[in-house]
Symmetry: C2
Subunit: 211 residues, 2 copies
DNA sequence: CAGGTCATCTTGACGTTGACAAAATAATCT
DNA sequence: AGATTATTTTGTCAACGTCAAGATGACCTG
């Protein structure tokens, strides 16, 4: 109709799919998961309320795609931090952890969404794959750390991976919920750095090539 | 009307408030936060859809009360585990962590709710108080641990409190989201025990009275 | 015990949501 | 060019949360 398609152009047989994903990203970060609405999302993309149906079966399926994208970005965030760190295994691990938390602080609502299994389709292969890939960014450096030490069972390595993921995951959640603000003297990133550092130092002391 | 009030008796001027809270507890654990509905909750309590309004301003306010109750139970869960452990500070800490996780596994939906700040009124004084009390169960034994060691700054103590809370909190979330199931040989509680043990051992090695 | 008052609960309505069906529109293929 | 198909719109539905108004029962005063 009398609708000016400026930049985004060509909705009809342009790609509404990406436009919807973009709109969803914005809506999510603006209003949060709970206030997320398919209709508002369609509105933002400039289409009717039923338009999304052809590209996404469900709200669930839209949000699943959004979450998959978010997992790719958290992976990228961890990689970026690792690239900026020294190649030393401990430093790599520290980088991965900080990248994880940095993403959570940068895109809190996306971070929430990624782990809201009741809102997202965890069976979705794309989501599962991008999730696994993200975890690997954390698991790999743990394995590298332990490879130095033959005496240590693989077992312990997998425990440490769980430990570290739990640590950064919990930290991110608690901080975002405002539960960690008693340490107002440190900002989130600095506090995260110290917590990870302390953990790795303690863990590293149990390894032969400590620090 | 022709409604048989069997056990629960006296709704009118009985306490609907408690009945609603009970119904909400059940509905929450059955269907999850996202599927939680005020109307269904009223249905379970055997009243009309608008009845809750007189006792709770909002869905939000109902869920806030539910969350406050849950915080009291997680506190109780930590206390119970601590009571079963030796009085040694490290064992107390281990107990607190295990109690935290045990609650999350026992009442996963409540655990989710407690930290869903967009669904719950974090300003509510009752909720804030019960939340603070729960955190204290974890913070106190950390402080006790550090009191042994004068050389260590208070600072480090508060870092360790954040660290441990993050650890158990993250573990609970990840496990509930099914992200930790690669270790199928261990059940949740056993895995949690090992993770906490490893953390405390590593941390404890940095203390004078280690282990 | 009568009558009034108030808290409690029900009924009905409104606007909004996600999903579905059917109609309309535009792109593509032959 | 004409038909087929993919895409989008319009309209509808039940269900939701919240509000307003009315009904119901308990309590209190005289």
């Amino acid at each position: 109709m009398a609708r000016t398609r400026t930049a985004d152009k060509a909705y009809h047989h342009g790609d509404l799919r990406s436009a919807l994903l973009e709109a969803a990203d914005g809506l999510l970060e603006d209003r949060g998961v709970e206030a997320f609405t398919l209709r508002e999302c369609a509105r933002r993309a400039g289409v009717s309320h039923a338009a999304p149906a052809h590209h996404f079966k469900d709200v669930r399926s839209l949000l699943t795609a959004v979450a998959a994208g978010a997992f790719q970005r958290i992976t990228a965030s961890m990689r970026a931090c690792k690239a900026a760190a020294s190649p030393d295994p401990l430093a790599q691990l520290q980088g991965a952890g900080e990248g994880y938390i940095a993403f959570a602080l940068r895109e809190p609502q996306h971070f929430y969404l990624m782990f809201r299994c009741s809102v997202v389709d965890t069976e979705d292969p794309e989501l599962a794959a991008s999730g696994r890939e993200a975890f690997l960014e954390l698991e790999r450096p743990v394995a590298a750390l332990h490879r130095v030490d033959d005496a240590m069972a693989d077992d312990e390595g997998s425990i440490d991976a769980v430990l570290l993921w739990s640590l950064v995951h919990g930290f991110a959640h608690l901080y975002l919920d405002g539960r960690l603000s008693q340490r107002a003297d440190l900002d989130a990133a600095a506090l995260a750095e110290r917590v990870i550092q302390r953990t790795l130092a303690a863990l590293g002391a149990n390894l032969p090539a400590g620090r």
